[in-house]
């Protein structure tokens, strides 16, 4: 025993020495390459990036938009979190966006963005993202870069294997990470096994306007459904979900759900289930979930509470679901551009398991099953296996593709990206990440047509990569040029929140469609004023509605009297600018909410409940013009019950 450990130690030292040597080599070659690496990531002032990168914000609840290869941050798109910068979730119009069956939930944990596709290729209409904590799916317009719709998912918890798009954007699919009692009820936790369910939700997307509808939920055994991806090409019509905790443990999960040598990839023939539901299959079940829609023309969101959902028992639909045994608690579930290979990233192992779609179909046709789990047939591991990537790394998490027959896998534990060849399974290259990479992203890398020029590694640990900022730091990301045989690290930059995944897209697909203004003439907001002479103030009991317009550099009206303590004052502000990038802001002293940032042609509403008599100023928060500092106004607030008449004016 002692001798054994001695040898191990020797081995460790050798490894250490040799890695030191390598590092020395790397350093010198990095030195020689650094200038060309800098050139590759350099986007000159005034020039534009080649790609958009949409990164999930993790616990920021939002999406951040970066440029590739520069790593420059363009925008944070508020999705699941209140965003005082623009007033999202604070303005009267956008508060309904964050409504749920639990009431107003001002935050979520946003994980996996995915861009809409046509024929398996990015089409740049919308980007979808999941809220993990209070299960929700959001749709963001890629014309306005604003969240247009959020749908809550009943019967789900830990909405993690989401939000992935089928290849013609038929469905956005969302699986449950934490299985729960369905319907929710008061029951002992230790009766989990056999009783809890993991719902897989299929949400249809209307092709014309993107409207979401929860079509059906498959009630799967109570495993943890971790990640998923659609089949494409020949495997279109199938969806693949990795599972872990097939042990169905409910406590000390880190040990108890890591006991099985193999968990499953669940292969779901959603076309079969769709057909079944279309023909009246499934059970209508009472449910409660919010559906929130933002209308670009009224500039307003409405929240509707839905009361019913169709659930499907997978065992009732023959041929709908099969389990593919996959080693060691697989995380990422990735399908190559041809649709032939399904990759299980067994996060507690060194190897990657690659299943073959053709083998799977053959095994199903040959009815070669290795038992079943809760009535769902299990295929034989050897029958479906296409190959194993002996990577030499540890903790594979996620794989994407370059469209040239190569795959790129992140290894969390060994902190590296490994490039390997589809079909031969040989490792071609490996590069360290800094540190402990989670997901990676190649623009279009989870579609039929990847743009295999860059890979972005999104890391979980930052440590010494940047100047320290106290205990809490942003996460680091690295950009590698993958146009050659070997990956080349070209840039390293901090990202906001905790990006769990990203979706990239060629700039020319989106930039020409990006909206510059909202047309005032198309503004259908009920409180909009389309010309300044329509500006007015109206009282209705203790509610006061101020119909206000803004243009450089004044508010109309800017003097208001006759407001009383105890009033609820609604500022409905319409920005009359029709010029690109000329927003106006609005902020009122002592207001218990955020500012508004109002885009040209848009109307937003802020509620103010004055508490003290006095004369209270408001002002424009956006440096809109040379006279921005003059862009202000006053509201006179009188004590409750006083009889100061309601008046408003500009320039009097």
């Amino acid at each position: 025993m002692r001798k054994y450990s001695y040898i191990l130690m020797l081995f460790g030292i050798t490894a250490f020495l040799s890695s030191c040597g390598n590092q020395g080599d790397n350093k010198s070659s990095n030195g020689a390459l650094s200038s060309s690496a800098a050139e590759k990531a350099y986007v000159a002032p005034g020039e534009h990036d080649e790609f958009y990168a949409f990164m999930s914000g993790g616990y920021s609840g939002n999406i951040t938009v970066y440029g590739l290869p520069s790593g420059r941050l363009f925008k944070e798109i508020p999705v699941f979190s209140q965003f005082p910068t623009s007033g999202y979730g604070y303005s009267e119009e956008t508060k309904p966006m964050l409504n749920t069956s639990f009431g107003f939930v001002p935050w979520d944990d946003a994980h996996h963005p995915d861009i809409s596709q046509t024929n398996g290729e990015l089409d740049g209409r919308w980007i979808f993202i999941n809220g993990n904590n209070t299960p929700r799916i959001a749709r963001v317009s890629l014309e306005t870069f604003e969240t247009e719709e959020i749908i809550e998912l009943p019967n789900s918890a830990g909405n993690h294997s989401s939000s992935f798009i089928t290849e013609n954007t038929e469905y956005v699919v969302a699986g449950t990470r934490f299985s729960v009692p369905v319907p929710q009820r008061d029951m002992p936790i230790n009766e989990y096994k056999g009783n809890y369910k993991g719902a897989l939700s299929f949400i249809s997307i209307a092709p014309d306007n993107g409207r979401l509808n929860l079509e059906f939920q498959m009630m799967m055994p109570g495993f943890n459904y971790d990640l998923s991806h659609p089949g494409r090409g020949k495997s279109h019509g199938w969806f693949f979900f990795t599972t872990y905790n097939t042990e169905e443990a409910h406590t000390l999960m880190e040990v108890n759900s890591s006991q099985n040598d193999k968990d499953f990839i669940a292969a779901v023939n959603w076309k079969k289930v769709e057909e079944y539901v279309k023909n009246g299959g499934g059970t209508k079940m009472p449910a409660e979930y919010a559906h929130n829609v933002y209308d670009e023309h009224t500039h307003m969101a409405t929240s509707t509470m839905k009361k019913e959902v169709i659930t499907v028992d997978p065992t009732k639909v023959p041929g709908a679901v099969y389990f593919l045994p996959t080693p060691k608690s697989p995380h990422g579930c990735d399908v190559d551009p041809s649709g032939q290979y399904i990759i299980g990233n067994g996060k507690l192992s060194a190897d990657l398991t690659v299943h073959s779609f053709d083998n799977m179909i053959a095994a199903i046709e040959g009815a070669k099953f290795d038992g079943e789990a809760y009535g769902i047939p299990i295929l034989k591991f050897e029958d479906v296996l296409a190959g194993t990537v002996k990577s030499g790394g540890l903790g594979p998490l996620h794989t994407e593709f370059d469209g040239q027959g190569n795959a790129y896998t992140t290894f969390f534990i060994s902190s590296e990206v490994v490039k390997w060849k589809l079909g031969t399974w040989e490792v071609i290259d490996r590069q360290p990440t800094y540190y402990s990479v989670g997901h990676l992203m190649i623009p279009g890398g989870n579609s039929r047509k990847p743009f295999g020029k860059y890979v972005v590694a999104m890391n979980k640990i930052t440590k010494d990569r940047y100047l320290p900022t106290g205990p809490e730091m942003e996460h680091s990301a690295q950009i590698y040029d993958i146009s050659g045989d070997k990956m080349e690290l070209i840039y390293d930059f901090p990202t906001h929140g905790e990006p769990h995944y990203a979706a990239g897209c060629p700039a020319e697909l989106l930039a020409p469609n990006s909206k510059k203004i909202y047309r005032l003439s198309e503004n259908k907001h009920p409180y909009a004023v389309l010309t300044p002479d329509q500006a007015k103030v109206e009282r209705d009991g203790n509610e006061v509605h101020i119909y206000m317009s803004t243009i450089r550099s004044h508010f109309t009206p800017d003097n208001i009297e006759g407001i009383k303590v105890g009033d609820k004052v609604y500022f409905h502000i319409t920005n009359h600018e029709q010029d690109f990038d000329v927003p106006h802001g609005f902020a009122m002293i002592g207001q218990n909410t955020s500012e508004l940032l109002i885009m040209p042609g848009q109307t937003k509403t802020s509620l103010w409940e004055p508490k003290k008599p006095g004369v209270w100023p408001f002002y424009c928060t956006d440096f809109c013009s040379a006279l921005h500092q003059e862009m202000q106004g006053y509201v006179r607030v009188s004590p409750a019950g006083s009889d100061v008449p309601l008046t408003y004016s500009l320039g009097e």
Partner: protein, 204 residues
């Protein structure tokens, strides 16, 4: 004679382009306007180069006290110019036809050209006068009252032809497609005149 007359018919027809294409174009670029604002001056009114340009030019001009750009009904020119151009086209075509059938000689072609030139110069004069008024007759309560180094109030008259720097803006004013069609048309009538002249010289 027939060839000259035909040219005399074709030439004035080019002026019809003015009913569709702008006569003049003024572009205003500035650091914060990398995509310049622009106005197209048509014979019947001033129009946006890109949507909302006029509104945005007016918005900027209000700081220095310039009036809003005129609507078609606010200037008599925009109802008169189409009539004048239409009349000149009809007159030119008529002269050409009469030239072909031999009722008029080629000197009438030059006559049309001279008349058109005089009208054109008057039009330019009028246009320039409007720009002087527009650029100097400023609101006394303007937000920004700027003066030249010699103390005289700054003028914002756009150039009639060419480029000028006005505050943060680079202003470029040039004839546009309609004007070029007019020049081509007028040149054609001059050619018609020479062709007609040569034709009369030949037999003698």
């Amino acid at each position: 004679m027939k060839k000259a007359g035909l040219l005399m018919i074709i030439g004035p027809l080019f002026l019809l382009g003015l009913f569709y294409f702008p006569l003049w174009n003024i572009m205003l670029g500035a650091p914060q306007y990398p995509e310049p604002l622009g106005m197209n001056i048509h014979i019947d009114g001033i129009r946006d180069m890109n949507e909302f340009d006029l509104q945005n030019i007016d918005g900027l001009n209000h700081y220095i006290g310039m009036r809003k750009l005129p609507k078609p009904e606010e200037m008599w020119e925009f109802s008169t110019f189409p009539l004048v151009i239409g009349g000149m086209v009809a007159l030119g075509v008529l002269i050409g036809i009469l030239g072909i059938i031999g009722k008029l000689n080629y000197q009438w072609y030059a006559g049309w050209f001279v008349l058109m030139s005089i009208l054109g110069i008057l039009g330019m004069y009028d246009f320039n006068a409007w720009m002087v008024d527009y650029g100097t007759n400023l609101d006394p309560n303007a937000i920004m009252k700027l003066a030249n180094p010699d103390g005289t109030p700054m003028s914002y008259k756009p150039p009639l032809f060419g480029h000028a720097k006005m505050l943060n803006f680079d202003v470029t004013s040039l004839p546009s497609s309609g004007a070029w069609m007019m020049f081509v048309g007028m040149t054609t009538t001059v050619i018609a005149f020479f062709v007609g002249w040569k034709a009369t010289k030949k037999p003698t």
